[in-house]
Amino acid sequence: MCRILIHFVLILSFTTHLFAQNKAVAAGEKLTYTASYNMSGVLTDIAQVTMETNEVKTSKSTLLRLKCTAATYSKWDTFFKIRDLYESYVHPNNLTPYLYNRDVNEGSYFKNMKYTFSNSSNTVKSVMKKKNNYVENNSIKINSGTKDIVSTLYYMRILDYKNMAIGTKKSFTILFDNEEIKGIITYLGKETISTAIGKKECYKLAVGSSETNVLQGKNNNFLWLTADENKIIVYGKFKIPVGNGELKIKSASGLKN
């Protein structure tokens, strides 16, 4: 009997689908972060990351523009200058992407990637531009629900963590460099942390692949989202070969709630 019950719960959990409705992200929001390198507790600030939203009106619809920019601090500019822009035009209610643009400008390296999503046919028209007028056009077949990196970051914020059990995993498929990448976030519970915008109670998430056993501490990439209606990312920690990469919030304005 017990076995049947366990199987029933397992099957139910596999087949359960959640409907995500955006109650956390609004137009006019601006989040500023500092990306740092941490070596044995000594922090070195590298770049400023900004996440902004604004409304975009076309004759047929009103969309939400999700924009992320990364720019190195002036002290780094002579060594390596980063001016990256990532943007996604999404539906304001469910953050479904329609258009994605990635413009990477890192010193001598330049790359522009544009995805035009056709959600009804599950295809993406991709245009890649590189130096010396190199242009590559592709049509990619994607799975239902595949998003770009920017809309996925924002999409994490509209999930219902309040009713989530510790250890719950959510899978995402991200289209990056014309390839679908499977990512998994694991909800690890609540944690209170000090940030530049005050002491915040947060939802702690582990970011990784399905094979990583995060509950046994075998994952090194974490995100902290405020445990309120806005669910903004306030802190991120990522393992790099020597030391850690950190993303710390500097300021937040224009929040929905």
Partner: protein, 124 residues
């Protein structure tokens, strides 16, 4: 032994000075701390044998200079982003182009329905 510690002191103090003038100046505290430890050891070993080489004292001075630069940069130099004019122009241009492209897109009403997220809650 004295020679080894003297070489280590000189090397780490020079390294601390070089790092202190780079953007990663905060990390200069590691070679500076090592330079100090090696320097003190070299100093005492030299004192026992009778002669303290000037180079050890010079290394101490170099380490102190490196730490001063690190402290100055940490407290008085503001970390800020400058020269974002091109990026701002690009942002505006991209938005204009995107609106044009979105106008041509056939955004179907069915796409405005809530989308599903697969719940891969496993046996945790």
């Amino acid at each position: 032994m004295k020679k080894i510690f003297t070489i280590l002191t000189i090397t780490t103090s020079i390294l601390a000075t070089i790092i202190s003038v780079l953007p990663i100046s905060n990390l200069a505290v590691f070679p500076a701390a090592l330079a100090f430890i090696f320097g003190v050891t070299a100093f005492y070993i030299s004192k026992k044998t009778g002669e303290v080489k000037k180079i050890i004292q010079f290394s101490f001075l170099l380490t102190a200079c490196a730490l001063s630069i690190v402290t100055y940069k940490a407290f008085f130099i503001k970390t800020e982003v400058v020269n974002t004019k091109i990026l701002n122009e690009k942002e505006a241009q991209f938005e204009e182009d995107a609106i044009e492209e979105l106008e041509n897109l056939d955004i179907e009403s069915s796409e405005f329905e809530d989308i599903e997220i697969e719940n891969t809650n496993l046996d945790n």
